[in-house]
């Protein structure tokens, strides 16, 4: 118990939590945007891969770090557009389309990577985002190391939380997005296009998801590996429900998951001899389910989630 306490008060633990949470923040915000508009995007896992691969490849080809971020977002948006096309005007099953996009995006990324680099035995590396050492702030006790030694992409993630919150809560666009996910007819009757709103929401959300992937290859690491997304996208799908589709809670959920994960590593190292290591690996997932069970009753779903809408039909 003393150990646990010691871990929880260290700065490096919280810095690690935020670092681990960063890609999840992008992912859960992306999922949030799509689902607020009424469309489940199970393509997220594949879109993470695309973001990781394209962002990294762009930097490797000389596009520069921010160029890579942009390329990742565009690539994610492109796959989002495909999902949007299948699920919005065509109204196909969102589950299947999403899983199809995941398979498609993953295999396109892998195939492209291998075709471009047929004979590497160790993946080429790029110069990734470095922790930003903000002169005075970084030296603040506690907060300094936790917040001010993160990379620019972590800051972008936090900025995105604020931005998504602002758009959802304070702008006409946000209101329309929420409305289209609750009752598309309400939007249609006010002369707005249900299709356009949903399509753009999915594109934007997918671009956001791709940034989560890009974080992995451009900030958390400096090269692309097969399989490195490792289920992070799926975790976001769980977190968005935990977050009741609210950006602030999404941040909280991602941080909690990050903290569980950071804790898990530390506990496994310390107590690995007493308990099988897997117990700790499971912990973040089990705790997510527990959190969901606690939060479930209060979660109010976007009512139109999973339901396609066609103009002029009832």
């Amino acid at each position: 118990m003393m150990d646990l306490f010691n871990i929880l008060v260290t700065e490096s633990f919280w810095a690690a939590s935020l670092r681990i949470a960063s890609p999840l923040i992008f992912g859960v915000l992306g999922a949030l945007i799509c689902e607020r508009a009424g469309v489940l995007n199970l393509g997220i896992e594949g879109i993470f891969v695309v973001g990781a691969m394209c962002g990294w490849m762009a930097v490797w080809l000389g596009a520069g770090l921010w160029g890579g971020v942009l390329v990742a977002a565009l690539a994610g948006g492109l796959f989002g557009l495909l999902h949007a096309f299948l699920t919005v005007p065509l109204g196909l099953s969102q589950h299947v389309s999403g899983l199809g996009i995941t398979l498609f995006a993953t295999s396109v990324s892998y195939f492209t990577y291998r075709t471009a680099l047929p004979n590497v035995s160790s993946p080429p590396r790029i110069e990734p985002f470095q922790p930003m050492d903000v002169p005075i702030l970084s030296d603040l006790p506690f907060l300094g190391p936790v917040l001010f030694q993160q990379t620019a992409l972590t800051w972008l993630a936090l900025l995105m939380v604020a931005l998504v919150w602002y758009v959802m809560d304070r702008t006409a666009l946000g209101v329309a997005l929420k409305a289209v996910g609750d009752n598309p007819d309400s939007v249609d009757a006010q002369g707005l296009s249900v299709y356009a709103l949903r399509i753009w929401a999915i594109v934007a959300g997918s671009a956001m998801m791709a940034l989560g992937g890009a974080f992995l290859t451009m900030s958390a690491f400096d090269a692309f590996f097969f399989g490195m997304v490792n289920g992070r996208g799926w975790v976001c799908i769980a977190l968005v429900i935990f977050a009741s589709w609210r950006p602030g809670k999404a941040l909280l959920g991602a941080l909690l998951f990050g903290a569980f994960d950071a804790l898990q590593v530390r506990l496994q190292t310390e107590m690995g001899a007493l308990v099988p290591g897997q117990v700790f690996l499971m912990a973040p997932y089990i705790l997510s389910i527990v959190a969901l069970v606690i939060a479930a009753r209060s979660a109010d779903y976007p009512r139109a989630l999973l339901t396609p809408w066609f103009k002029g039909q009832r």
Binding site: S121, F226, M228, N230, R266, A273, G277, Q278
Partner: protein
Amino acid sequence: AEKLKVAAIYTLPVEQQWISRIHKALNTAAERGDIEYSFSESVANTDYERVMREYAEQGMQLIVGEVFALERAARKVAKDYPETAFLMGSSFGPVAPNFSVFDNWIHEPSYLTGMVAGAATESNLIGMVGGYAIPEVNRLMHAFMDGARAVNPEVKFLVNFIDSWYDPPKAKESAFAMMDAGADVMYAERFGVSDAAVERGIKAIGNVIDTSGDYPGTIMASAIWHMEATVDKAVSQVAAGTFEAADYGQYSFMAYGGGSLVMDESLVDAETVAAVKAKETEILDGLFRVNVNDQRPVSDN
């Protein structure tokens, strides 16, 4: 002479450290003009048997791969294609007439890198991040730990497995956690660990591949696996028509050039360098045998 047709079947992408060594040896042979090389990577175990049969049907003369998860099935296939030579990473023995086995027996250089690490640690705490706790990994970790304890009886270890072959960000986080707990030398079994070491400015020990070029000033020593000895031996035997079922494991030993130690002598103190070299000679001369222990290693506390 006619080029030998060789196929390899990997269950993971060729970037995976272990596989990359086989891939490299085969590519070298292909470049030399000895063989015509094709491969399938990321083959699911479910599909592995089919791929073996397909290659055998295509008339491949030598098939290389790893059959740890399908030892029996693979031997069945070999029996069905007696004309084809099989050289497979395996925990079990060879089967006559055509099924040979190998494994990455680089516990010897691992022991030596352990000596380097044991001498280098000031906190007497060494961190080790692994993928899965499989014998191939456990064995090297134990050899490393034995080496470190041999030079530093005080040393303790933190051990962590991330249950993934490919999650460098996760491996990196594990490494950070160990450094937070006081580890000042890292055993880098996975990609990601050395990166964490670089960021915190501490030293690391490499495994299987030589990454010192990627992390100059960080990697003190690495235990390197060379598949060339194994592959070349098998290729020449198939070409000569003398291929037999045999355990090629020994070709990964240092004595055959299958395992070696690389050391960045600028990072290691002279006394240790000397001790390590002496031990290396002992091993090469057959005077010292490194213990083999396949159990899952755990942290000391």
